[in-house]
């Protein structure tokens, strides 16, 4: 035995199905008349570095699909995202193991968190036409057919940040301080492109996660004195870097990407420095924003501590919903059918959470990629600790940038 050669079969309403779709009801939704679409999630749920993002992401997705089911499901099917949730501990090998465990039982992945982890299963995703939603914003995904990215990526976001800083803050020198890998390197690549285009000097420092590991970065900032630091680290790393450099007399600005932020930093000793020097860039608007999508999200998650991890998990889910709907309409809910549906997606209804036009998976990456991002700044009063200073915008660098390959390889 072994192998996974499920033959396509006829499912509910004449829809063709193969993996992860049953005509029996989902175990937890309570709609006994509907069939069930099983989606898997592989996330960083206990010990890994991104746990604090991963848990709200996973929660938000659960809420998102519950709302879908409550609103009537998808063409006679409910969606189950709770039966096959696995912990990857942010380790590629574990990621692959748990993926292998669940892959025969799911139609698609509602979440695959992290880049090296997702890279470990990428060939398999492609071979088996497994559509998947990433939990990361790297520019590589824009070039992977089976991966449904939402919003802009680290690379373009950082271009915008540099453009913003050059225009609004008069910045002349830029330093990217970043974690290694797709996350940090992708952002650094974008920052570099923008800085060069704008005639600002550019330098780059790799650092590692962990509070006591920031000495090198701090030394580099203090001695390099750049006007702007593009920060792609974890939250406590950021707090240490901003706090310590400020304590040592640094007066330039920082712009960090979304995983760099945590509202708890506003209570840290670094808070004064953070309030004075820090800006946050974002691919979409924060938790408390007034759009139909945001409102639906807050209603679906009534009693949680606001955190933009929820926002991310929620936003990321829209394209998969759209693809499923299209696949059902096509009467082909097989993996191949779902991938086909993705190829037909011209736009996705993000209920106002992303600018219109976002979610074009049908054309070339350069066509489809979202270029808008936003700038926030710390604010004690705001629910997730940040308040908007610059609404969706596309800087001149990003606007002209030809997105033909991932920024960083």
């Amino acid at each position: 035995r072994g192998g996974d050669g499920a033959a396509p079969a006829e499912g509910k309403g004449g829809v063709k199905v193969d993996f992860g779709v049953t005509s029996e009801a989902c175990p937890q939704t309570g709609h006994s008349d509907r069939g069930c679409i099983y989606l898997g999630s592989i996330s960083d749920l206990t010990e890994g570095p991104f746990k604090t993002l991963a848990v709200p992401i996973t929660d938000a997705q659960k809420a998102f699909w519950k709302r879908v089911n409550d609103q009537g499901g998808i063409g006679g099917y409910d969606v189950d995202v709770t039966s096959y949730v696995k912990d990857n501990k942010y380790n590629p090998q574990i990621h692959n193991q748990v993926y292998q465990e669940i892959k025969g039982k799911i139609l698609a992945l509602a979440q695959t968190l992290g880049s090296p982890t997702t890279a470990a299963i990428l060939p398999d995703l492609e071979n088996t036409q497994m559509v998947s939603v990433p939990a990361s914003w790297t520019s590589l995904w824009g070039h992977e057919e089976v991966v449904l990215e939402s919003g802009t990526n680290y690379c373009l976001e950082s271009m915008n940040s540099v453009d913003y800083a050059v225009e609004k803050l008069g910045v002349k020198s830029v330093m990217a301080v970043h974690l290694p890998g797709d996350y940090g390197d992708d952002a650094a690549a974008g920052a570099k492109i923008a800085a060069e285009k704008r005639g600002a000097t550019f330098s780059s420092v790799v650092t590692q996660t962990g509070q006591d590991n920031q000495g090198g970065a701090i030394d580099a900032i203090v001695s390099g004195k750049p006007d702007l630091v593009i920060l792609t680290t974890g939250p406590t790393d950021a707090a240490v870097i901003i706090g310590q450099t400020a304590a040592r007399g640094y007066k330039g600005k920082f712009i960090g990407t979304s995983p760099t932020w945590n509202p708890g930093l506003l209570k840290s000793p670094a808070a004064p420095a953070i309030k004075a020097l820090y800006f946050q860039s974002a691919p979409w608007k924060a938790w408390a924003t007034d759009t139909p999508g945001h409102k639906a999200m807050r209603d679906a998650l009534p009693s949680v501590t606001p955190n933009d991890g929820y926002t991310a998990g929620w936003v990321w889910s829209y394209p998969l919903k759209a693809a499923l709907e299209k696949a059902v309409a096509n009467k082909d809910l097989t993996r191949a059918g779902l991938l086909n549906a993705v190829r037909q997606l011209d736009k996705v209804d993000y209920e106002g959470m992303l600018p219109s036009g976002a979610g074009k998976f049908s054309g070339s990456p350069n066509d489809g990629v979202v270029r808008q991002s936003l700038i926030y700044k710390p604010d004690d009063a705001a629910p997730t600790g940040v308040t908007l200073v610059e609404d969706f915008f596309v800087g001149s660098t990003a606007k002209d940038y030809k997105f033909e390959k991932p920024c960083y390889q």
Partner: protein, 369 residues
């Protein structure tokens, strides 16, 4: 010997006594195990096969660690380093020459596998002089230093490793022109990889078993039990410590090169303290100083996470909800730790100890006190 069931085996020559499997039950057990293992691919699903294949590879690595730590008594926490050397040698040799990371396109498994072992062994020889000078935990932690230094190098050297958070493809398992990770006419990729790893484990297991019952194995044990006395009866301490490290690293290199083949992809962050510790745990949980113990330990540690993932389902009082204060995943992680703790408290001699106990029980049955 007809009708003498239960009597100790009688030997008619020393050759028979010294044979590889010197008793009938040993032969029977081994035969049955091999047949069982070979039938496995037809009985279980691919994901389990992949896990077992990984377990077999881990077993090769654990045997290697057992040689230096269990037999020669030099506790090494540096195994992850040697695994990494093997992994990168194998991956680079067989890698795509036009790829993003270093690759030489030599995809033939026997070639890169041997090379991985040899390169790792070379590093073992370089490191071994430390072992000649240091003892016990000092050696353990200094070899741990290797892991940290190695991790640093692997993070920085991204043209080889792809860099942290990115990684690179693993070695390509091609045997006589056939890619074993791709499905063939009769078998799926995982089935082929399972069989490949099983065969390799048997080969390396037999080799190791031969080694440890040879004069070299005895010399290792002497160095372990009391090195001063070993020297006085004629064992060259330096030579055997170096040899132990070299052989152990060879095994680690081989295991490292194979370890990610099943996975297809690996990240330089994989070769950390935790990995070294897992291998030490395999050796200790299996029972230090036995080959079969190392294999059992490796399978146990490899399968443990899977077991802990299945456990909550059968324990009704644990909610399977992914979120909440204590989630099922935290329960899994805690179980992993707890199982190791409880296991070692109950049976400090490891799985092999349990096996010996069971065997002794039946041997003296019905007279067990």
């Amino acid at each position: 010997m007809k009708g003498l069931k239960g009597r100790p085996e009688l030997y008619t020559s020393y050759a028979q006594d010294m044979a590889f499997l010197n008793t009938r039950p040993k032969r029977a057990w081994t035969g049955a195990l091999v047949v069982f293992a070979l039938l496995m691919p037809f009985a279980v699903t691919d994901d389990l096969l992949m896990l077992l294949a990984t377990g077999f590879v881990a077993a090769i690595g654990a045997i290697g660690l057992n040689i230096v730590t269990g037999y020669a008594g030099q506790v090494s926490l540096g195994h992850a380093f040697f695994l990494a050397i093997g992994a990168y040698t194998g991956a680079a040799l067989s890698g795509d020459p036009d790829g993003r990371v270093l690759g030489f396109g030599i995809t033939s498994l026997p070639v890169w596998l041997l090379a991985s072992g040899l390169v790792a062994a070379l590093f073992g020889v370089i490191v071994a002089p430390l072992a000649v000078r240091l003892r016990g935990l000092y050696l353990a932690i200094v070899t741990l230093g290797l892991v940290f230094l190695g991790e640093h190098v692997f993070r920085e050297w991204d043209s080889l490793t792809g860099g942290p958070g990115v990684g690179r493809p693993a070695a390509v398992p091609e045997v006589f022109g056939v890619r074993l990770d791709r499905p063939s006419e009769f078998f799926t990729g995982p089935q082929q990889l399972y069989l490949l790893m099983f065969v390799l484990l048997v080969i390396f297991g037999v080799l190791a078993r031969n080694l440890v019952r040879s004069r070299i194995g005895r010399a290792f044990a002497a160095v372990r039990d009391r090195d001063l006395a070993a020297a006085v009866i004629g064992v060259d301490l330096t030579k055997y410590k170096v040899l132990a490290f070299a052989i152990s690293s060879f095994y680690a290199g081989v295991a490292g090169a194979l370890l990610f083949v099943v996975n297809g992809f690996f990240d330089p962050g994989s070769f950390n303290l935790l990995l070294s510790v897992q291998y030490i745990a395999m050796v200790l949980i299996g029972g230090a100083g036995t080959i079969s113990g190392a294999v059992m330990g490796a399978l146990f540690i490899t399968l443990l996470p899977r077991i802990t993932r299945e456990l909550p389902a059968v324990l009704p009082f644990i909610s399977t909800d992914a979120t909440g204060v204590i989630t099922v995943f935290q329960v899994e992680a805690v179980l992993y730790g707890l199982l190791i703790v409880v296991f070692l408290i109950v049976e400090p001699r490891g799985l092999f100890g349990i096996w010996v106990r069971v065997r002794n029980y039946w041997r003296t049955w019905p007279f067990s006190y």
